[in-house]
Symmetry: C7
Subunit: 83 residues, 7 copies
């Protein structure tokens, strides 16, 4: 169960230091460790990997993602438990 989610950003706060899946516009996806975010939903991922068609396409390492290209952000563990 999910505890303590009162505002949307609580999900991001709970995910700091954990692996997340970031779905971008134009069918890009990134997975990586969430290090930081701000109210514009700009996020920083470490050990980021770009994924396309279910396969790793490119390792990016540390990356700053602008919020306005993001569709959704999910804890990667949640995605896997449900697959």
């Amino acid at each position: 169960m999910v505890n303590g989610i009162e505002r949307p950003l609580d999900v991001l706060n709970n995910s700091k230091g954990k692996e997340v899946l970031v779905q971008l516009k134009n069918n890009r996806q990134m997975v990586g460790t969430l290090l930081a975010f701000d109210i514009h939903i700009n996020v920083v991922l470490d050990n980021a990997k770009e994924i396309s068609d279910g396969e790793n396409r490119r390792s990016i390492g540390l990356t700053f993602l602008r919020g306005d290209t993001i569709i959704f952000i999910s804890p990667a563990s949640a995605v896997e438990q449900n697959n």
Copy 2:
């Protein structure tokens, strides 16, 4: 009947803890339990599933959705009662 809807966000408030259908731009849909939202219509869904062409495509689990990719949000019970 619908009671007590005076402002648009009242619909979202009434739907907390219930299953909603979220229609995104680019023909993506998500269904899941609405946990939280804010004035930008950023929303958090639990047990989220991506749907395409009427079939589940991917289980996402817990997810943070940015408001600017959302077209509409409906209580899933309403969608089903009318089908």
Copy 3:
């Protein structure tokens, strides 16, 4: 005749509780009873139906529509009187 329309939102205010046609971007249309709106033109429809190519495609029931996907909103009675 049209009385008392001094500001654009007066049309929406006069249409509360009545059926409206909402034209969305990307050729989607919805018809439903207008329950609420705000200054961002976020609207709530009850008994909403999605229409495509002049045919009902999906019943949505109660729905929250984000303003930035809306092209126009018309009282459904006006659309019909003119057809």
Copy 4:
């Protein structure tokens, strides 16, 4: 000649109660009587008709148009005098 146009909105103010042509993004056009507008260029038309390829496609009657889908607004008399 055109008198008294000092700010862009003066054109819309002078056109109240008169027929205007509204060019929308995505090649939609509407003609109708301008009843109201605001600083976001949201406008209300009465007796509105959608036009495509120079032919009436649909009568809409009274309609609220969101400003961000509008390219230009012209007094219909001006368009006709110049054709």
Copy 5:
């Protein structure tokens, strides 16, 4: 030579009452006499003509153009001197 252009809007101010070329998004162009503009770059043209593929397509007369569809605005005399 160009004198007294310290801020971008000075170009528009110097062009009032003169013919300008307005390049719009989606390959539309308009030429007409610049009557007014505001800080959103909403502009009013008189005797406006829509141009496509170098030929006049439609006479519009007086028109209000929303700023967010504009790519550039040039004094028409400058365009011609350089052709």
Copy 6:
């Protein structure tokens, strides 16, 4: 080497009176002398030329470019030194 660039707009300030290359969305490019800019990155070019596929397509002369269509702005001398 590059001296005294502490904020992004310093590059534009240093380029006043010099030739710049402006890359626009939709594959348009302009070269011209930078006369003025503001915080919205609206810019004024003199002796502007539109370029497509490496060839001059149209001379525009003096032009006001809206910031939101701009991808990047470079001093033209830098582009040439590196080709």
Copy 7:
């Protein structure tokens, strides 16, 4: 490991004077030395090169990039370590 990243902009601050990869919308990429950035994520690169399909397409030299066309920014060393 990554130290001291508390806010997204810390990544950009740590990357000043170093080579970064900037992914733009529409499949453009730039690599160059990050000289400056602001809260709109407008950035200045020196010795910038445009890359397409993994090959250098054009040397740009010094360039001002508008933030709203940027998808992500990564330290180039991180991208390489992971390839």
